[in-house]
Symmetry: C2
Subunit: 379 residues, 2 copies
Amino acid sequence: MPMLPPATPGMSLADVDTPALLVDLDAFERNLKRMADAVAKAGVRLRPHAKTHKSPIIGHKQVALGAVGLCCQKVSEAAAMVEGGIRDVLVSNEVIGARKLDRLAALSRQARVIACVDSPLGVEQLAAAAARHGAQVDVIVEIDVGASRCGVAPGQPAVALAQAIAREKHLRFTGLQAYQGRAQHLRTIEERRAAIDEAIARTKTTVSALKAAGLSCDIVGGAGTGTFELEAASGVYNELQAGSYIFMDADYARNKGASGGAFDTFEHALFVYATVMSMTDPARAVIDAGLKTFAFDSGPPIAPDFAGAIYERPSDEHGSLNLSQSNTRPGLGDKVRLIPGHCDPTVNLHDWYVGIRGMSGASPVVESVWPVAARGGVF
Amino acid sequence: MPMLPPATPGMSLADVDTPALLVDLDAFERNLKRMADAVAKAGVRLRPHAKTHKSPIIGHKQVALGAVGLCCQKVSEAAAMVEGGIRDVLVSNEVIGARKLDRLAALSRQARVIACVDSPLGVEQLAAAAARHGAQVDVIVEIDVGASRCGVAPGQPAVALAQAIAREKHLRFTGLQAYQGRAQHLRTIEERRAAIDEAIARTKTTVSALKAAGLSCDIVGGAGTGTFELEAASGVYNELQAGSYIFMDADYARNKGASGGAFDTFEHALFVYATVMSMTDPARAVIDAGLKTFAFDSGPPIAPDFAGAIYERPSDEHGSLNLSQSNTRPGLGDKVRLIPGHCDPTVNLHDWYVGIRGMSGASPVVESVWPVAARGGVF
């Protein structure tokens, strides 16, 4: 059922079929290295989020550079990572329902799987599943550090839940999930710092209250690509869960960096390759990439090779490049690169990564074709 | 690589894993029948669009009720339909590039495949591919009937392109593609009628100009779920390409019908089933279905079983049901049905349809589990 791949290794970029998900391998590898260096320097662990890439191949590259394991958002995603050889996976999201929890508990017989809870019902269901499978599952408590989504309140409510975990024979209290998702795309460093300062305060309070109750946190996890330097320097977070840094999307590029300039710690390494398939008006190039090729929740894609071109009017399989403000214009049949607005849900639309070596050189070539192994892993 | 299915036939609805794409089979079958009856009464042909369902299983049901074949939007989608046993497929979209055209021409050796062009380059590339494969390909010319996306201008430009097709030994001029996509979601019948009157006028002009040049149109195709009655009554369109009527999404339900009341010709037959996996605030149910489960281009999903509930704040794998205005509230662990904002790109996110019999009765049960065979078919 997966689609035939749009390329084969050795092919030149120009011959890749479209729409295709391209990885600029040189930029991607530099991004991997920059994050590995940053966490090593800060003295914290990296557990990158696999919801970005959904690929054990990429996960192994992260582990090779020092990551302690991966985060996943769903059990089916975790299964794809474990089956692909990743030995330590944290499901950073509440799992409710016997079917999913049976799968999680069974998976924990094959690798370390860390589960996340924010309710007594979650503890009860997870303990029952672990018992059914004779498994011992590590569990973290999610606290609300300001995003008002999931997570119990910091302090005593978190302690009560941790104690409920500690009482279960098949569960082991392992720490806290303290991710501030809303902070990631606040545009200025000052806004992000204010949000993360609040998250740090709530997390510190909770770690202290747990300590007073005789419970220690092996994992205090959180952080994303937009804020990881703040959590890394906090003295309380010890595992960073950033994911998007490997690819950098158009929306993250709208953040400002620490000095107020561009957020350029990481490079754009993910592109969609598309073909101009209709051009009855010279100011409008219609391309073969629309709602089924890009996620639009964080804005349209950007065409970096045509300054002034604006992607607009997406429909299922069409998008229009408005070229009225662009001095350089593609022609009918030309292939164009686009930077997705939001990388994670865009990757999830594709079956294959096409890895390009020498993207910015004279002869870019296909080096690898990797499956997006956990694509569709919403269970 | 496809995900394990979320259900098995015979299971009760309540046991289906989430998020899952549910089809209310009773409503779906009534929708199929209503459209079949409407086109039979109008004396036109139906060639439903498979970009909605991407399933030859559903396509065969449409053909069994009289459809002459299917439309597809991409060659890979057409391949999935032909390989699934559909014998007559129209690719209602320009195909540019040797690799795709080789696939199209090769496919036309196995079934009738009708291609669509709007440029001399398109004709030239298609003719070359057909010659390489010793194929004879039926070709239609797309004209711009008011959507300003693809298509040559009506009248003489279309005639010139049709003549270019007719000169090619391996191509056969077969008619016109005249779809007015922008008209489908205009909210009132008056607005839709004005747009389609214009489309009909442009199409009539072109059919006459072709006739004067000695070229006849076997196919004059277009129409969608929002306007099909207008094209059916036009006297010029002879094939309707509606797709969404089988499922009806939340956005089509915002259209007004002919009498100014609700557009209720078709029933909602497609739902996403989701689980409340976090509920730390009684006015906010966090569900396991976000950007990777729904397309949001036409608005958020609707929760029909909880009046006043508002789906908001989607992230990759979370959505929040704001329950502050809702008197009935789901609890933690409950499963809820949601009607997608836009059916086509939502279906494209899933690997499986779970067909439910007796959805509105006391004991809804899983009757079928069908693959979304052409999911990801963007090539």
